[in-house]
């Protein structure tokens, strides 16, 4: 951390987006995390993505649990709505907020401790209910905030800073999200913004439960030899299956690709995801294959990254519940309290 506020001066030629904001307008308070923490890079990627998508900051809600990762919403989107919930409870608070006001863009920020231990159940249910959100786990394999105990995502056999091996099987949150029906699943790395920023953009524009497992080295407790969540390990074992470009409207393809090299996916809202294949056989529209590939590569010690799966036509929780298009918090009293007659009618229909 630093004690100084970041100077307000910005680059004189810093571009502005369609709303007239610079990227700096999407920043928050100065971070109090350890210098070099991967989480700060993810914050920077979120800022960049929201800027590029021209999102009005006051139409975004950021929610989190407890942990260094869950502290980060303070450090980005200073003009957005925020809710710092209790440990592992971000998903239910987010679900409730989403039900009350479906018009906001929901960003859930969590850690591997927050989501894979105390909040595992909440994580699972929010995904399987298809809450329309981006759920991002800043995954460092440890409980950073409480001084570096192994978390449930730490790989079996990986070493703690003091050299002790982890004996438990890891939880792979990306595989779980696939299994639970998430309609957008990606994995990325805090040290690779070229990959991460487009993934965040695509996920923010995705309808349904979008999940990103972002490996984010903890420089204080988990960036040593023997760790499988260190900068060096992830860089050496990074198996990126594709590269993504996100276009709000379809743009002409300028670079030449060999047949089969390029996949285009159009999401529900018209956003075009243009995927350049790095692995010729990988198809991000095949959930079963994605799950198999993750298993196979993790057995080899490889970290699969990229857009792992997308279902562009997914439905969300509101579709399932057939809620009205108007956000519940915008309905007037007459609509919300229709009176005794309406109640009688409803009761009668249930008899």
């Amino acid at each position: 951390m630093t004690y100084l506020a970041k100077p307000r001066f910005h680059h004189p030629k810093l571009p502005t987006n369609a709303l007239g904001y610079t990227r700096r307008d999407y920043e928050g308070a100065v971070s109090t995390l350890c210098a070099g923490c991967g989480h700060d890079s993810i914050s920077a990627a979120i800022i960049q993505a929201c800027f590029e998508l021209d999102l009005p900051p006051h139409r975004i809600a950021k929610l989190s649990g407890i942990g260094c990762s869950s502290k980060t919403p303070t450090y980005f989107l200073g003009a957005s709505h925020g809710f710092n919930s209790v440990h592992g409870r971000m998903p239910s608070v987010l679900t409730g907020a989403n039900l009350a006001n479906r018009d906001l863009v929901y960003l859930g920020v969590s850690g591997d401790g927050d989501s894979a231990s105390i909040g595992l159940g909440q994580f699972a249910h929010s995904i399987r209910r298809a809450v329309n959100m981006l759920y991002i786990v800043e995954n460092n394999g440890v409980y950073g905030l409480t001084k570096g105990q192994f978390s449930a995502t730490a790989d079996k056999g990986s070493l703690s800073k003091r050299g002790v091996a982890n004996h438990d099987e890891p939880i792979d949150l990306a595989s779980m999200a696939l299994l639970l029906g998430a309609s957008f699943v990606a994995r990325s790395f805090s040290g690779d913004k070229e990959q991460l920023v487009p993934l965040i953009k695509a996920a923010l524009r995705h309808k349904g439960a979008a999940f990103i497992d972002c490996i984010s080295p903890c420089v204080a407790f988990n960036n040593h030899p023997g760790s499988t969540k260190s900068f060096d390990f992830v860089r050496e074992h990074n198996d990126a299956v594709n590269r993504l470009d996100v276009m709000v409207e379809r743009a002409p393809i300028e670079t030449e690709y060999a047949p089969g090299e390029l996949v285009e996916v159009t999401q529900h809202d018209g956003t075009v995801l243009r995927l350049r294949k790095l692995d010729a056989t990988y198809d991000p529209r095949d959930r079963g294959a994605a799950m198999a590939y993750l298993q196979q590569q993790s057995a080899k010690g490889e970290v699969v990254t990229g857009l792992l799966f997308v279902d562009p036509e997914a439905a969300d929780l509101h579709d399932a519940l057939s809620t009205v298009a108007t956000p519940l918090n915008a309905l007037d009293d007459a609509a919300l309290v229709p009176g005794a007659k309406a109640l009688d009618k409803l009761n009668a229909s249930l008899r």
């Binding site: 630093t2 100084l4 970041k6 100077p7 001066f9 680059h11 210098a35 070099g36 890079s41 920077a44």
Partner: protein, 606 residues
């Protein structure tokens, strides 16, 4: 890696930060200062209230801090990085004055003059800033210096031309006195009429610092008939400075758009000219005077009339009555060259009692005989080695306005330092072409995890204005100083605007783990981690538009991922946040103090 591959093809080589020019250029103000004054170093001393120390840093580099703090042409300010970050540069010049005005007695800090001389005698022709700088550098080395000037008092145009309301006489006396007080032999009131005679006196070397002493005249109809009320600007100004002229007519026309014109009109305004007008051939923006000089004149109610070409002096019965001007407009050809073409409107008549002609200065060397071996070019300027200032007679050196035509005080000082080095080497029989390298010191500013020995919290203040004395008071006297100087509190706040560009960001590639923390925190997006490539293409891929090609890119060696760290120096705030955020200490903030080596110091070739 964008298919470019690690290292890139035809990539930029890593920056050699051991070359002193690299970091020197980052200190924009110091690089732009002809004498390379360590500006941020003295600004920090002013902020710390250490005025005497700040003064001495200046004195060493530019010899006349009190004078320059009021009159310098300040090439440092347009160069100042702050001007690229927000609206206006740091008020560098006026901070210098703060050091001069608030210092203690510094006489004991001046260099000691050896009682036993080295036996070498140097003649200095002219007692202007160039020659005085030569004396200042040579006296401490044991030279016997003899200064000749036709004026009765030393100082050159600093004393004869710059009006007192901009520069009080006490300030000139004090700073000229520091040098003459070193035991310089003064032969004042003595015009030199023959270089040969000086050479014949057996001096080991001669320095010519006679300036550009001739004011240009305007040979128009009526010039001779109305001569009594037409004055050449610089001659008139020196008569004012030396008290020979105390009044001028009520209606005055000043011809010309340079500094001299501005001093003429403001002086005339104080000597009875109630209606003073400046008339300029060209447009307002092309005028040679500095923007602040034009503002000062306007502030004193002096109109500036542009695009009017003088045609004729009007007179009646041998008395000047007015002037006739032709109206013109600017036209540009395909190559962008300007010509002034008549608009066809009728000529304009302006009535007046006096005219001051301030249309330029010329060099004149009627006293330098061809036989001395000193050659001149077709513009009448001496043929000189551009680095050593040595003339075609190796015993003769030039500097200041006499060397390359009229410039300003700080250039005269810079020339003087260089000429002194040449003279010293020449007198010792050393190769004059060999120049001593600058002295360079680097020191880490780190004191703790987030603690630095400089103030890295960037001030958001805008430039402070220097207060002025009441115009009712200043316009009534030729010698009441207009500017009052910053008070201590404002000086501190203005000093805090300095970005400390000499505190350099120093990168160690081996320590970097490529976590991006520095790139993320940098408020002005200086830092990018990317594949190397040819410079023009690389600049196009940086995190922020890299359009200022005069500013360097700092490149690291290849990092672990095969990428490089690229820092665009252009708008770095030197806030140190990159270094505070770096988990491994790959960034460090190091103060880079560069001081020019003057005559006789260190680094002798033998």
């Amino acid at each position: 890696m964008d298919g470019r591959g690690p290292g890139g093809v035809g990539g930029v080589p890593p920056t050699d930060i051991r070359n002193p020019d690299y970091f020197h250029k980052v200190v924009d103000c110091q690089w732009a200062c002809p004498a390379h004054t360590p500006v941020p170093e003295y600004i920090r001393l002013i902020a710390a209230g250490r005025y005497s120390d700040a003064y001495m840093v200046n004195w060493k580099s530019n010899v006349f801090p009190g004078i320059l703090g009021r009159t310098c042409d300040r090439p440092c300010e347009p160069a100042c990085r702050r001007g690229r970050v927000e609206d206006e540069p740091v008020a560098i010049c006026r901070l210098k004055r703060v050091a001069a005005d608030n210092k203690d007695d510094i006489r004991h800090r001046l260099p000691a003059i050896p009682a036993v001389k080295n036996g070498k005698r140097v003649a200095l022709v002219g007692a202007g800033p160039a020659a005085l700088t030569v004396a200042r550098d040579l006296m401490p080395l044991g030279y016997h210096c003899t200064v000749f000037d036709r004026d009765q008092r030393a100082g050159g145009m600093i004393r004869s031309q710059i009006p007192r309301f901009r520069l009080p006489e006490e300030v000139i006396d004090e700073e000229v006195g520091y040098i003459t007080g070193m035991g310089v032999e003064l032969r004042l009131g003595q015009e030199v009429r023959s270089l040969q005679a000086i050479l014949d006196e057996g001096f080991d070397a001669v320095f010519v610092g006679t300036g550009a002493p001739r004011g240009k005249d305007l040979d128009l109809p009526g010039r001779r008939e109305a001569a009594a009320n037409i004055h050449v600007g610089i001659d008139w100004l020196s008569s004012v400075s030396f008290g020979h002229v105390e009044r001028i007519g009520r209606r005055v026309i000043v011809l010309g758009g340079g500094n001299t014109a501005m001093d003429c009109c403001r002086s005339a305004r104080r000597l009875g000219g109630d209606e003073v007008k400046v008339v300029v051939r060209s447009g307002y923006d092309e005028m040679k005077a500095s923007p602040w000089e034009k503002e000062d004149a306007t502030h004193e109610g002096i109109p500036i009339l542009n695009f009017m070409v003088p045609k004729e002096f009007l007179h009646e019965g041998g008395r000047l009555t007015g002037m006739l001007f032709e109206r013109v407009r600017a036209e540009y050809d395909e190559r962008g060259r300007r010509s002034l073409v008549p608009t066809g409107e009728p000529d304009e008549r302006i009535d007046c009692d006096d005219v001051l002609v301030a249309v330029g200065q010329e060099n004149a060397f009627p006293w330098i005989e061809r036989e001395t071996g000193v050659e001149f070019d077709r513009w009448g300027l001496p043929k000189l080695d551009p680095v050593t200032f040595q003339a075609t007679n190796p015993r003769v050196f030039f500097g200041g306005d006499s060397a390359f035509g009229p410039k300003n005080i700080i250039w005269a000082v810079a020339h003087g330092h260089e000429a002194a080095i040449s003279i010293d080497r020449f007198c010792r029989g050393e190769d004059v072409a060999e120049r001593p390298p600058p002295g360079v010191e680097t020191s880490s500013q780190k004191m703790g995890i987030h603690e630095w020995s400089y103030d890295n919290d960037i001030s958001a203040d805008l430039r402070f204005r220097v207060p002025w004395a009441e115009p009712e008071k200043t316009l009534r006297s030729i010698s009441v100083e207009v500017e009052l100087g910053f008070d201590a509190r404002t000086a501190f706040a203005e000093a805090q605007r300095c970005l400390n560009c000499d505190v350099q960001t120093v990168f160690t590639a081996q320590l970097c783990i490529e976590c991006d923390a520095c790139a993320d925190i940098c408020p002005v997006d200086c830092i990018t981690f990317t594949a190397n490539g040819p410079e023009a293409e690389l600049r196009g891929r940086l995190n922020a538009p890299s359009v200022n090609l005069t500013q360097a890119l700092y490149l690291s060696e290849d990092l672990k991922t095969g990428r490089v760290m690229v820092k665009d120096e252009d708008v770095c705030l030197h806030c140190g946040l990159c270094a505070e955020r770096c988990p491994t200490g790959a960034w460090d903030m190091q103060k880079f103090l560069l001081e020019m080596t003057h005559a006789g110091h260190a680094c002798r070739s033998h």
